[in-house]
């Protein structure tokens, strides 16, 4: 089958995701808009008002209610989506666990933003990383195109019969959500065909077969429920790979569990999520021109984390700097902990961790150069001076 594309457009990350949601045409969209994800809802509510979608839009009184309404609608048997950021996601916290525990394939557009305090509206990954243990699948996106493509693929992954788990599609607040970039949309008909119909398992609106969700489960059964949920997460990796392969075949853009940028023979490797990867790729190119074997690993699927594949990809590097745009206070950065775990069974490279870009602080090419220089030094000497250190900060 030939690759289908449509004309190139110039849009923000938020507009791109709103367009994807219009094409996905969810049954229910409960939302309580919050910066920087507001643009998604702003566009989407206009689609609702103009009759471009069949979606039942529920404007609720808080994010906790948004997720609660989403859980109800999804349990009823509907396709559900919402969008949020930072404090909004934090307020959803208990409901996030309920969505995953009930195995409801809700789609959330998460526009990553720093958590208060101090109050800040800009992009970092504190919100996404804070929710990594809530049982949601997490896909991260470098730019508007990836946010759009991941959103188009999201229901296929979340609703797969072996999975049935909620999914977050993440992009960086402001840096991606509000910057206009050129990208390609897929035609409506192709999206509709790709996504297909949703058949809920045991929906509550099947009133001929009354059922109940939300019963109390004590010591005799709780663990069996969680074991089944763990199994669903284990199944995600293959589904993401299959859906991404089908997407690539139909639409030409290829996605893996993580992106390997000049990684094959790299000795000096940086690991980073989302928009920072764009800056790092430029600097990797510059160092390659100087003869340094530099490379980048950009995780796409953070939950479940593809430990084996990442471990295999990094095993032969000499030194790896893991860049975290979030801190786990009192621990290493969240991404560092995953990379260290991924390398654990192997005799791998020297590892160290930089916390950068919190609260939307820019990561400039020169900052990346300093990190690459230090990684080269660590590769040469085998000595890590400080495992975890803040950069892009005034000392």
């Amino acid at each position: 089958m030939g690759v289908t594309t449509t004309k190139i457009v110039a849009v923000t990350g938020n507009q791109a995701v709103a367009e994807a949601l219009r094409q996905l045409n969810p049954d229910v969209m409960p939302a309580y808009p919050i910066t920087p994800s507001t643009g998604i809802m702003e566009s989407f509510t206009s689609f609702v008002s103009n009759g471009k979608v069949d979606t039942e839009m529920i404007l609720v009184e808080s994010e906790h209610s948004a997720m609660s309404a989403g859980i109800g609608a999804s349990a009823a048997g509907g396709r559900v989506a919402t969008a949020t950021s930072a404090q909004g996601l934090a307020l959803m916290w208990e409901m996030l666990h309920i969505a995953s525990g009930y195995r409801l394939p809700i789609l959330m557009a998460l526009v990553n933003r720093a958590l208060s305090a101090p109050l800040n509206i800009h992009g970092d990954h504190s919100d996404g990383m804070g929710s990594r243990d809530t049982g949601w699948i997490q896909l991260y996106s470098e730019n508007a195109q990836e946010a759009y493509d991941n959103t188009i693929m999201a229901y296929r992954i979340a609703e797969h019969k072996d999975v049935r788990l909620p999914i977050m599609v993440c992009q960086d607040g402001f840096i991606t959500s509000h910057s206009i970039e050129s990208m390609q949309y897929i035609p409506d008909g192709d999206v509709k065909k790709f996504v297909g119909e949703y058949l809920a398992i045991d929906p509550l609106l099947d009133i001929d077969n009354p059922k109940s969700i939300g019963a109390l489960v004590l010591t005799d059964y709780y663990m069996e429920h969680k074991r089944a949920q763990h199994e669903a997460m284990l199944n995600v990796k293959k589904v993401v790979q299959d859906v991404s392969a089908e997407f690539a075949k139909l639409f030409g853009r290829k996605y893996e569990l993580f992106e390997s940028y000049r990684l094959e023979d790299a000795e000096v490797v940086l690991v980073a999520l989302n928009s920072a990867a764009g800056t790092i790729k430029d600097e990797v190119d510059r160092y390659r021109e100087k003869g340094v074997k530099a490379g980048l690993l950009k995780p796409r699927m953070f939950r479940p984390f593809p430990y084996e594949e990442v471990g295999a990809a990094l095993r032969n590097a000499k030194a790896v700097c893991v860049m975290d745009r979030a801190d786990s206070f009192g621990g290493y950065g969240p991404m560092f902990m995953e990379i260290a775990s991924a390398l654990y069974p192997h005799k791998g490279p020297f590892l160290f961790n930089k916390i950068y870009g919190l609260g939307g602080r820019d990561l400039m090419p020169l900052d990346v150069d300093k990190v690459i220089d230090e990684t080269i030094e660590v590769a040469k000497t085998g000595k890590v001076k400080m495992v975890k250190e803040y950069i892009t900060v005034r000392n």
Partner: protein
């Protein structure tokens, strides 16, 4: 009852048989037990309306007694019972007495 393993659970732990709470006998939780005094009963069925555990048994719209397999002994029925001329038709008594 043999406990199911994790592979045998229904998807998402959904309860597919409506009303299966009936199979879970909660009567052993009780420390106080309601006793029905039929001669004081005016068949107002307040006890039946208020019972949170559907443990008031009826036949032909008449109260016939308590389902002690499910009654948790909360005492709401005794509290609500208007009785006859000030004499309660339901009284709470300590279990094991």
């Amino acid at each position: 009852m043999k406990l199911k393993n994790w592979k045998e659970l229904p998807h998402a732990g959904t309860i597919l048989e409506a009303g299966n709470a009936n199979e879970y006998t909660t009567g052993s939780w009780r420390s106080l037990k309601p006793r029905w005094i039929e001669e004081n009963c005016i068949q107002c069925l307040f006890c039946w309306i208020y019972c949170p555990d559907s443990a008031v048994m009826t036949k032909d719209e008449k109260m016939t007694g308590f389902d002690y397999d499910h009654c948790k002994g909360c005492g709401v029925c005794a509290m609500e019972c208007p009785g006859k001329k000030g004499n309660k038709a339901i009284v709470m008594e300590e279990e094991g007495k």
